[in-house]
Symmetry: C2
Subunit: 188 residues, 2 copies
């Protein structure tokens, strides 16, 4: 029986290596460079092995990476919660800037994972909950949930527009300060 256990352990380890290799490659050269052949070469197995781990193919691998990303984002935001809305803002943007490939997998690609539905993974709800925690005190009589969605949209927009060279690099810190100014105080 221990052999069987070792087999399944090796299998799961290999599955993790696939996702790790995909993340590393995506971070270095972007997701377009993450091909099933290169991935197979990195883990030193043949191409079809990938499909035994992820029947959904490349999309499923990206979704797995995205899920890891949401776990890490939730932890990052949780650690920044004592810093209040300003701290969470800075942490969110730093996360996206530091792991652009991962952030792409989480938002630009990975259409399988969706929010606000029954099968939404817990880690994705956890991310939203972290944002809600710092937004709620500033909501006043406004809907905290909807306000969190707007706040989140602002962060996400800042990240993606900045990535596409659409924003002035000189304004970077000032933008974050303005986010705090507009969302960090109680509405009248």
């Amino acid at each position: 029986m221990t052999q069987r256990q070792r087999r399944v352990r090796d299998r799961t380890e290999r599955g993790q290596r696939i996702v790790a290799a995909a993340r590393e490659l995506a971070e270095a050269e972007g997701w377009d460079a993450v091909t099933t052949r290169r991935l197979a070469g990195l883990i030193e197995y043949s191409q079809p092995v990938l499909y035994s781990h992820f029947p959904g193919g490349k999309d499923a691998i990206m979704a797995a990476a995205a899920l890891e990303g949401f776990t890490e984002l939730a932890a990052t935001l949780g650690a920044a919660r004592p810093g209040g809305l300003g701290g969470v803002t800075e942490a969110y943007v730093a996360f996206a800037e530091g792991k652009p490939g991962l952030y792409d997998a989480m938002f630009t690609h990975a259409s399988e994972l969706r929010f606000a539905e029954d099968d939404t993974p817990e880690v994705m709800k956890a991310c939203f909950a972290e944002l809600l925690a710092v937004v709620e005190p500033t909501a006043g009589d406004q809907d905290a949930g909807a306000l969190t969605e707007v706040f989140w949209s602002t962060l996400h927009g800042l990240v993606t527009l900045d990535r596409g060279r659409r924003l002035s690099p000189a304004h970077r810190d000032e933008r974050l300060a303005l986010v705090v100014a507009r969302f960090g105080t109680r509405a009248d």
Copy 2:
């Protein structure tokens, strides 16, 4: 000489047909479905003809579509300017919702076109100017340019997160109201 004129006119018309076909196909089935072969079939010419119009290939065709998009967006926002910040907000979101494929070409893809640099096309600056026009009155002593970037990020984030099924459909109108509440009034 009139024959030569007709030739160049036919050529430019064909170039426009290529972009139009690409936009139509992207709107119907997404940009992944826009292949050079299908595009060639739609304009009833062979594949290499596309490259005589757009040496940059598919990316260049998408960039051309994106440029058309910025022109139309600038016009849309200009028409909505009398409605103030709320009107522009609604117009921006409606534009993105109504032409999702075009919006994708403008922002998600089309890495060639970049803002805040010397070779930024005029129409892209015009879009930013339209947003600035409604944000400036609410800036107070805050930097109007940076604030416009934050406002724009909010709109862009709302659009993209909503597209990815990341936001609750029920909150849609409330979110727009909250945008106006947070950006439409002068900061103290």
